[in-house]
Amino acid sequence: MDGDPGSTYTRGRLCAKGYSYTRSVYSPDRIKYPMRQKGRGSGNWQRISWDEAYTEIAQTILNIKKQYGSTLPVCLNKYSGNFDIMHYGIEGMLTSIGNTTRATGTPCWPAGIDAQTFDFGTIVCNDPEDIVNSKYLIIWGANPAWCSVHSMYFVKEAQRRGCKIVAIDPLLSQTASKADLYIQIKTSTDGALALGMARYILDNDLYDGDWLAKNSKGAEEFFGYLKNNITLAWAAEKTGVPQHVIETLAREYATTKPANIWIGYGMQRHTNGGQNVRAIDALAAMTGNIGKSGGGAQYAQLETWGFNYHAMIQKKPENSGGSGDRAININNFGAEVLNAKEPPIKMLWIACRGPITQDPETAVVKKAFEAMDLVVTADMFMNPTVEMSDIVLPITTTFETPGVNVSYWHYWMSLNEQAIKPMFEAKNDVTIAMELSAKLNQLEKGSCTYPTSGDLAEWVGKEFNDGIHKQFGISGWQDLKKGPAKAKGSLVAWQDGKFRTPSGKYEFWSDEARKYGHYPLPVYVEEMKPESKYPLRCISPHWKLNIHSQFQNLDWMDTVNNAPCLEIHPSLAAKYGIRERDSVKMFNDIGYIVLPAKISELVPPDTVAVYEAWYKGKKFNVNYTVKAIPADMGKKATGSPGIAFHDNFVNIQKV
């Protein structure tokens, strides 16, 4: 297992997670066969054949349709477990049976997406390899040293070439440790810092009036807002960052060209997260750093995702009932499943997801699972979601199936060629869709429109179109067999000045934002504050050895670390009489977890940090304490608001 040196982004290297792939494909603990659990959560599993699995699933779907007049009681929860385009076949399969209920939205990044959609029209970032051209780089609420190690090469290279690296984060992260300047900010007050900086830039005439005149809408209104509402003293008090630091930061940022801001997903997981991103975007715009190599306000991009979605786009069978799919909020999944009426939800299909470890309000999610007639989960390993399923289907790893992958950060595309036969009885999502379709049609002709056969490698080819060929400079998808390809142009976001907002300009003033219930300007929305009963903020950021529920269960990761902990500042620990490795109960009104304390000055004194992860064989799950509080934005671009994961207020006690 190694990286492809043909990619100038990875430069032939993998991250720890990538190197550990071999530990899943040949793990003796993989899910090997379709199995049925007698009693959800009982652990009493029977091995069944694929045919038995398909028959039970198909019969349940057909019975539901007969009883309720549509397949709306069938609900799909599928998301980011594997973003290989072929996995969208599972959405296609659900479409093929009729109208269904869909967990809609994204848990990770919706508030930021909406913010940039209001400002720019959509999310587009510069090619991350372009970071080397930056002269000033603020990494704001992101920890690439853990979560985007390939990007760190470009950060360090920029630094070597004289770029000043500033890290802004409530946590003194690994990335912050490598920065030239670290600014510890009070969690969720990022917008106040950005607006304070903006006020300084405005007052000192450091903004780019020409750029604003040519490219923006609402700059005057924004400046008016700054003058009337924002002071540096206020920003300093709000953020905990001394005023002179804000001034220096603002001056350096505005006067060093090109200056770049990398906006992390962590800082938008708040009830004011989207507004905070809009305020940061405004900084980049007012200084004329948008559309510049080495500049920008980098969040993410979906520019390279122009596939046909051939596996996904399917016709619904005629007269299958219902007037359209029903969307429920993926970020309040448990409650929305339980609350769905007319018709109720009776069956869940889980793919590429682990709701019981990853969703907020775990106890509610479990109740939703308990209320179902049938829960089907396609997965690679036993985990708490599989534990609460009736049927588990063994799913292929990346090595065992063809596919194609792009990124929402870099601009490369890679063909995934099948390297080995699927181990045991594992199958790809598209194969499952085809075979289930055959079973449904066998039991009731015309009940499923999904094709019942097809060559998977050819299906990968069917995802491509002329637009993709042109964008990547390839004559056909087979060209990718020679190696990965990078998009040929548009690698500097908004260089053409053609913003995709209603006005075609960068919008400080966004009527679209107002339409969605937000203030039209990037304003400061008060951060959530603790109540006296739960005085501490708990943030649950990404851990370095996993992606959500994946990877931490593998033996290599387990060897490095197999114990979650509560990171707590020494002063806070002293207040609660907590010493290193003491067992601590962290609780609020919805749940609790017990875990050992790790005393650390890397966390602020008023905040505890518990990295989100699923540890094999451990009862740990921080989401037992996380409420499904919506972030402020996300509805426009993703269908549902995000989750304010980091607005989790708790109390602690030594136990």
Binding site: P28, K32, Y33, G43, N44, W45, V392, F424, K616
Partner: protein
């Protein structure tokens, strides 16, 4: 004299074949019928000798007449099938490779052994070649071949298969079955899973000793084992008989 020895060994070999075959079915089919348990009890008693483990296993198995009973089936799956972390993975490489993963060097060595006889796994590259059910099936195959040659009085050919069995046993089965059975015994509660593990543990210990004692050659062979393997060339029998 030769005739008497041969008769005795054909009978013993048939017993071994029968036991291996029942063990194979246990690991291959995830279940044993009542009749198979009866047969297992009979044949185990015949080969048990002084084995304390086998005696204990037989005793436990006598309490398991209604298999598949659900409790034993669920336990069997937690030990050998999944979907959770296996408590006693039935794969040689898990026990013998430091990586404790599947499809490792040991798996390929088993594959190479099968290939010497023109054999290949039905689910090649999907089910590891060193799955216990497959290794047991291979041993059954070797016994069946040896038995057929013995019946026909073709001693040298029979000997060749018995030597192959000894070689396979020593190179593979011997090196992991005991640990595997101990894993089962540490975790299992049902009389079926415990009983089977004890019978297997006792039988393999006994077999190891027997093969050690007969390493100078099997007694019915006057001229010793032949190196001539031409009978095997072009053998395309699949493992499943």
């Amino acid at each position: 004299m030769l005739q008497n020895l041969r008769c005795e060994d054909i009978a013993q070999m048939a017993e071994r074949f029968q036991l291996y075959n029942l063990l194979r079915q246990y690991f291959h089919n995830n279940s044993l019928t009542e009749q198979q348990i009866e047969d297992l009890l009979t044949v185990s008693s015949q080969v048990a000798g002084n084995s304390q483990e086998m005696a204990e296993g037989i005793c436990l198995l006598r309490h398991t007449r209604q298999y598949p009973e659900s409790e034993a089936e669920y336990e069997y799956n937690t030990l050998f099938v999944g979907p959770g972390k296996l408590l006693a993975p039935p794969f040689e490489s898990y026990y013998r490779n430091a990586e404790r993963t599947l499809m490792q060097r040991e798996t390929m060595a088993v594959r190479a052994f099968y290939t010497r006889l023109g054999l290949a796994c039905e689910r090649l590259n999907s089910t590891p070649d060193d799955h216990l059910a497959t290794e047991l099936e291979f041993v059954c195959y070797l016994h069946a071949k040896a038995g057929r040659f013995l019946e026909k009085g073709m001693l040298e050919q029979a000997c060749l298969f018995l030597e192959l069995y000894r070689e396979f046993f020593n190179a593979h089965l011997k090196n992991w079955i005991a640990e595997h059975c101990q894993d089962v015994l540490r975790q299992a509660r049902t009389s079926l899973c415990r009983g089977m593990a004890l019978i297997m543990l006792g039988f393999f210990r006994q077999e190891e000793l027997r093969l050690e004692l007969s390493k100078e050659g099997f007694p019915w062979i006057i001229n010793g084992p032949t190196q001539d393997e031409h009978l095997l060339k072009g053998q395309q029998d699949q493992l499943r008989q």
